[in-house]
Symmetry: C2
Subunit: 350 residues, 2 copies
């Protein structure tokens, strides 16, 4: 009988953060593609677009005028999925099938730059530091609100990720409950901490640094790696080296180091297929429920859909929706590809 | 303080099948859309396409020639994600971070019809019965194989769902492990059965029939409804009325009733935006591990992405990937819309 070779044989890998598996089919990378092709976003957007509702000085859907902002700029989402209003509600503890509860929260939009055509990889490190500063301020301000127990900072980049405006921006959804994925993570981090007295992601990071098979970028304070259990072809995670739970714990040096690794990672992404690389990214960090949460370790996820080129993405569909996530290229191979890419942006390397 | 109104206020709903929540934002339906538009698949495909690798008589990627099949036709996937080969492997029980195990399985493709341009809603009920017969045979044959403990029958329809060929077809991935989503469902069904001595979905269905708020179609043997916890805008589930766990338990009458409700539901879907409606669908049923599984109830999920038109879909991205699934239109509203649509296909109703 043939011995198991993780680089060749179909296998499943376990994600200890959410207690789920992913099916890996390394031999399937050579499958031809005759399906849908994505449209490539034009590389030649103007610095200012008079029709963009995020550009400085322009009017938004609700009639408000954006200020002439110079760095990052935050405003309340005009079509928020959450509302701040408190709603009276009596819970029926016996309900099994029709369990529902009102959810209070706040949705904000964070413009990353006044320039319509400037995404993270092309921004200066100091400008990214300014975004981090804004994230810190929002995490603090929103987290302070009595009924807000979780602050989700995220970015949808590219039309293929449902982003309706190329102007560089992210969002923040703050709410009273822990969202499903965060609650799963919280439960697993907590169980690990209770058992081992240490942080799961801290211990995992040490092992990854020793193995050095999935590390993409490392600096003094952060590591960008392809997790062993990654589901998206070029999924990565940035983990802080020091043990702390939230973005407001950054030292000034860590802020610069995080801005730097963000720029480097997104530059590699753009360089991969020489395109403005689409992804959804987001920070997972301590809930803002007033507890201390030593089990949490600050980290940021990048979920990019592209598989083979600027136009061919991985579809998480039938089997993935009904069964489990599936990938072809191995995380080790993806890490190697990303690691070997230049940190100089392809547009500026001519 | 305002009282909770589930039709208006942001809230979360609980899915007891997988123990996860969905964020519902009914007030957000009026959000304008400036993002990506999907391409509409042409309505005028030929009955036979000489370049299609699924049409009868044509040559596939591996050089094999499809027979001149007349109803449904099954073959081994030429680029299977799973392999049948047995792999030697020693499990390391103490592994936390790098847990992996080889996975054995079989992937098959099921052509629904020799006609390149005929999807389920436009097929005759007898032709759909033939597909059901094939599913039954595959479930039996694959399930009988010693190492196969789960048989996932599914369909990806439409290029937006990663389907690379419009020729009507589905897939079957059979494997040794229970895939993540099935394992979650199994655990929750089992816990409910152990506690109540009855089947979760059977009890749920009774409540839904009483409330009659989310029922789309009902016949003597099956019900199509929008689950209370649906995440996709027009997500539905077909549940058998009688308590049985698998497709091979169908009586002849149930087979016809299932074929009929499949045709009716997919016709309503096509009629919704007058387009060949994309979705991923799949059957969840008893594992084939040789146990009796009284906790299972045969059901089929439909996960369609379209939101407002043939070209505007819902994106499950940033917040959804990092936090939890989110929807705007309520399940009750979606059920009403689907219920009121004709069961006569728009192409034939002129
Ligand atoms: O097997 P196909 O149709 O080529 O591929 C499609 O369905 C599979 C199963 O859901 C997915 O893994 C692929 O990402 C998708 O493109
Ligand atoms: O808020 P936006 O950018 O309009 O919308 C986008 O991000 C949201 C949060 O991930 C999603 O709910 C939407 O489906 C997506 O289109």
């Amino acid at each position: 009988m043939k011995n198991f070779d993780i680089n060749e044989d179909p296998h499943r890998r376990y994600n200890p953060l959410i207690n789920e598996w992913v099916l890996v089919s390394p031999h399937r990378s050579k499958r031809p593609w005759q399906g849908q092709n994505e449209t490539v976003t034009s590389d030649s957007l103007p610095e200012y677009d008079p029709t963009c509702y995020l550009c400085p000085g322009n009017v938004r859907a609700n009639g408000e005028v954006n200020p002439a902002y110079e760095n990052s700029f935050v405003f309340e989402n005009d079509f928020a999925a959450l509302k701040q209003e408190e709603i009276a509600f009596e819970e029926n503890k016996n309900e099994t099938f029709f369990k529902a509860q009102p959810e209070r929260g706040i949705s904000r939009v964070v413009c990353f730059s006044p320039k319509h055509n400037l995404t993270l990889p092309e921004m200066a490190v100091v400008a990214i530091e300014d975004i981090i500063h804004t994230w810190q301020k929002e995490y603090t301000d929103l987290g302070k609100i009595d009924y807000i127990n979780h602050v989700q900072i995220f970015e949808n980049k590219g039309s293929v990720m449902g982003c309706s405006n190329p102007h560089p921006h992210g969002q923040i959804w703050a709410q009273s409950s822990l969202p499903t994925e965060v609650e799963k993570t919280q439960n697993n981090l907590k169980a690990y901490f209770d058992k081992h007295g240490s942080t799961l992601l801290q211990d995992y990071l040490q092992e990854e640094l020793k193995l050095n098979e999935r590390i993409v970028i490392e600096n003094d304070h952060f590591v960008a790696l392809v997790p062993f259990w990654a589901i998206w072809p070029y999924e990565t995670m940035i983990i802080s080296k020091r043990h702390f739970g939230k973005i407001t714990d950054f030292t000034e040096t860590e802020k610069t180091a995080f801005a730097t690794i963000l720029k480097q990672l997104t530059t590699k992404y753009d360089n991969l297929f020489e395109t403005s690389f689409p992804y959804s990214s987001g920070i997972h960090q301590s809930p803002t429920d007033g507890e201390s949460h030593p089990e949490w370790q600050f980290h940021m996820h990048f979920y990019p859909p592209l598989l083979r080129s600027a136009t061919v993405k991985k579809f998480m569909v039938g089997y993935e929706m009904l069964g489990e996530s599936q990938r072809d290229i191995t995380p080790e191979k993806s890490a190697e590809v990303l690691k070997n890419l230049s940190e100089l942006h392809y547009k500026h390397s001519l």
